[in-house]
Amino acid sequence: MATAAVTQERENYLNAEYGIKSWLLTVDHKRIALLYLMSITFFFFVGGFFALLIRLELLTPAGDLVSADTYNKLFTMHGQVMIFFFLIPSIPAVLGNFLVPLMIGAKDLAFPRINLLSWYLYVIAGVLYSHCILTGGVDTGWTFYTPFSTAFSNTKVIEAGLAIFVAGFSSILTGLNFVVTIHRMRAPGMTWSRLPLFIWAHYATSIIMLLGTPVLAITLVLVVLERAFHLGIFDPALGGDPLLFQHLFWFYSHPAVYIMILPSMGVVTEVIPCFSRKRIFGYKFVAMSSIMIAVFGFLVWAHHMFVAGISLYSALVFSLLSYLVAVPSAIKVFNWTATMYKGSITFSTPMLYAFGFIGLFTMGGLTGLFLSALGVDVHVHDTYFVIAHFHYIMVGGAVMGYMAGMHYWWPKISGRMYPEGWGRLAALIVFLGFNLTFFPQFILGYLGMPRRYWQYPPQYQVLHVLSTAGSTILAVGYVLPMMYFLWSMRYGKIAPDNPWGASGLEWMTTSPPPTFNFEETPVVTWEAYDYANIPAPEEAPIER
């Protein structure tokens, strides 16, 4: 096609400048997004590798693949890598960085150099943590509970703590950039009620990043100081209180799970209207639900501590509040479903991932009701039930949302189409592999199989074997997109500006966009999700 040759030669952010310096010293939010994409993908596979080793060890009841100490390091580092180096940055740092300015009609984020700094902080943290892995690792569990982490562990707790501390600042700066950008850099006519819900989701996420992460930072500082100087803030042998650590830790780490899920919800809220050709049902309620999740999310942290030794009355309060925070999530699920009603639905890869998200997030979220119920939590706390619950939300939810987003915006980011057949196949493999891996773990948990166990009684083996089988299938499902995304960068079909016929300012510029995003600053005079006026792809002429 003649247009293909034209689009290939057109200047965009990818070909504007060449050379490694132009990437490592870029201040273009889109290039920074790709820098993040490479680094978080690296850590995803590191964390995934640890997971595979864990699942292999758990094939048999006896501890026969690795030593107990090694196993303890594996689950610790799997958790820390996946949470701090993959999930927390993932959507915000890749899709958020790329899309927030585009979606609001801006030329860049408010602070481009701080954006680059946040990536370098992430890299420094990553190097530090990698060094920790390679020189012995850490075995405290991702939660660093005291006094084990401060007085009993013989591993590199300080190094791991400092690495995560630095990664936290990367997160804080990203959140800061987003909030200022969304407040101050919207294009003319882009009022708050015309913002894509992806932006609302990232706004809520950024508030949590800003207010929650510093508390983790100071908590890690105190742990490091205590371990280095035997201070006693958290160690009862020295007059301190281990529960103080847990309160401070969970004060961040609970809102952190909303950092991990809200952006995914934002992605799904973009994908479903597009592939239903319909505006989102209940825009205001979906926007408000993101804010409510962020606010209420700060009030429930001690539901991780129901059997930790807190008072009965504390527990009652936190259980009640935990049920309140479930309501806005339910609202979102109902709104997504209602959006499909009387729509015109196609089953593209992003839409398949979005379906998977709704299904698995619903299951994970419902099991949250189990955990918030005090009487049940006493039994299932610290068992595989909890592991299944959070993997349903973080992998079945957040990662599927991430995959949906990567496929949805891939044409915009790379200027190429990924192969749709392979995309759908991978989505199906991921969905099946995921359920086989984690559903048995609910049963395991209620049976009483505790977390963080290297060896276990033989009656649990069948369920573990099923779970490990599932994990190998899941692994295939994740490797496939890696391969075909890379393939597509060279051999993929050239993407038009708006292959999906989607609404949103990002689709009104070229694929890939030019360095400054828009030829002319857009002036917005239409509402969000204006699908009444956007033709579906087959009906639209190929642009330019």
């Binding site: 300015p101 408010a110 850099m185 908590t219 500082v221 035997h230 007059g239 400054f516 002319e520």
Partner: protein
Amino acid sequence: MSASSDSPVAVETHDLALRHHFATKEQQREAASLGMWLFLSTEIMFFGGMFCAYLIYRRLYFTEFAAGSRSLNVTLGAINTAVLICSSLTVALGVRAAQMGKRKLLVVLMLLTLVFGLAFLGIKGVEWTAKFKEHHVPGASFHFEQTELDGKSIDPQHIQLYFSLYFAMTGMHALHMIIGVGMFVYLTYHSWKGRYTPDYYTPVENGGLYWHFVDIVWIYLFPLLYLIDLKK
């Protein structure tokens, strides 16, 4: 709510007051200001964790906290408080000087702020050295001689907790002061170079905001750490 765009096309300029991705100078100024305020809110949460630990342990072990507090040098602490308040005054006057384009005055005020900041750090160093000599630094060589206060017994572990928090909080504060001093070295240098004009003085303003914040943290730290139980 958003600033309206005067010129839709990207303005190619190396004007510090209007970077390429902003539409107007006002937008850039407001963005920078909002950014600094948000950053300060993260700092509040950061110090907040330590204040939370402090409040809990003070409530539990008041006697030890009172005894530890009495062992601090209130005079030096008060002088430091005055030093920081004066430095905030010079910072505020400095912002005004920048607004009015008075370069020389701005440089003097930036230098004065630096001097005050360094004085604070020096006095803090004196205090810490004294604590070190008295064996009040937590760790292997910690020893607090006093065993009771006003008839109430002092638990040696709990008094070490007080000092752990004392050093953690004043240490973190001092670290922020050092960063602030570095920032003001930068600002002094560039003020001298004439970089800040009535059109563009955002770094002075935002550096000033940071400095005021560090000052306010000290204004909380001083009574909480030094003035717990001042009866003689």
